[in-house]
Symmetry: C2
């Protein structure tokens, strides 16, 4: 896990849930429409089975339109060593208020074959990287 | 100025520029289409005269559409004391690659009368706050 996670949710055990017995959700700010950028960073990413597969490291925004194009998920590693980054098209993610994170319909095998980069690399300097991500996940280009 | 700025640009003198004599812009990642979320945070905000009026603290994203709705500019204060936060509609900002920051067509008097909140407040919990921002700057609702 990365060491600079901005919120505690990302440090929960994979697949764990934090259900509110009142049935009103995790907290009021999970039910609102807008989320702060620094809160997206660090949010858990789950597979369809509800198991945590990673954490949002950051996300890529189109400077002109303000549309979020890709979410970069960090995955594995220990104290930042060996950590890998997996960009996912924004459109492949669904926010689940019950889990308090994003759900993607991607299994670990798919993830293993997907475009990935290491810490310190800056692959979005080349637009081709985003196109590879869109092609892999068969999404229409986000930017 | 806030104490937790993620990049050095926000610490430059107000209105200063960092022009590249080659004419190719500040750096390659200023000319690309996508920007990382954690790089938006900390970016300088300038008025039309090129004077820095604040710094991007964070920004509010529509969880469903992935559209950036508001940029929260931090303004004034010292070591976080007395700092105020000014949300601006995303559509009111233009990214200027030459200045390396966002330009808004807002003067200090306009800013003084605009919706604002203090540190520790969470006004976007109420959708009404965003509507007040849109009404003040006469922008169509972003979310």
């Amino acid at each position: 896990m990365p060491t600079d996670l901005p919120n505690e949710r990302a440090l929960r055990a994979p697949g764990s849930m934090e259900l509110d017995p009142s049935g009103e959700g995790i907290s009021t700010d999970e039910t609102r429409r807008l989320i702060a950028s620094n809160k997206v960073e660090g949010t858990a990413v789950f597979d369809r089975a509800g198991d945590q597969i990673g954490t949002v490291y950051n996300f890529m925004v189109d400077k002109v339109t303000g549309q979020v194009a890709y979410v970069v998920m960090s995955f594995g590693g220990f104290l930042g060593i060996g950590e890998s980054y997996h960009p996912l098209p924004w459109r492949a993610l669904t926010y689940d208020t019950r889990l308090g994170g994003y759900v993607v319909d991607i299994d670990r095998d798919q993830l293993a074959g997907a475009p990935t980069h290491g810490a310190g690399e800056d692959p979005f300097a080349d637009d081709e990287y985003g196109r590879r991500v869109d092609a892999y996940y068969k999404t229409t280009p986000s930017a």
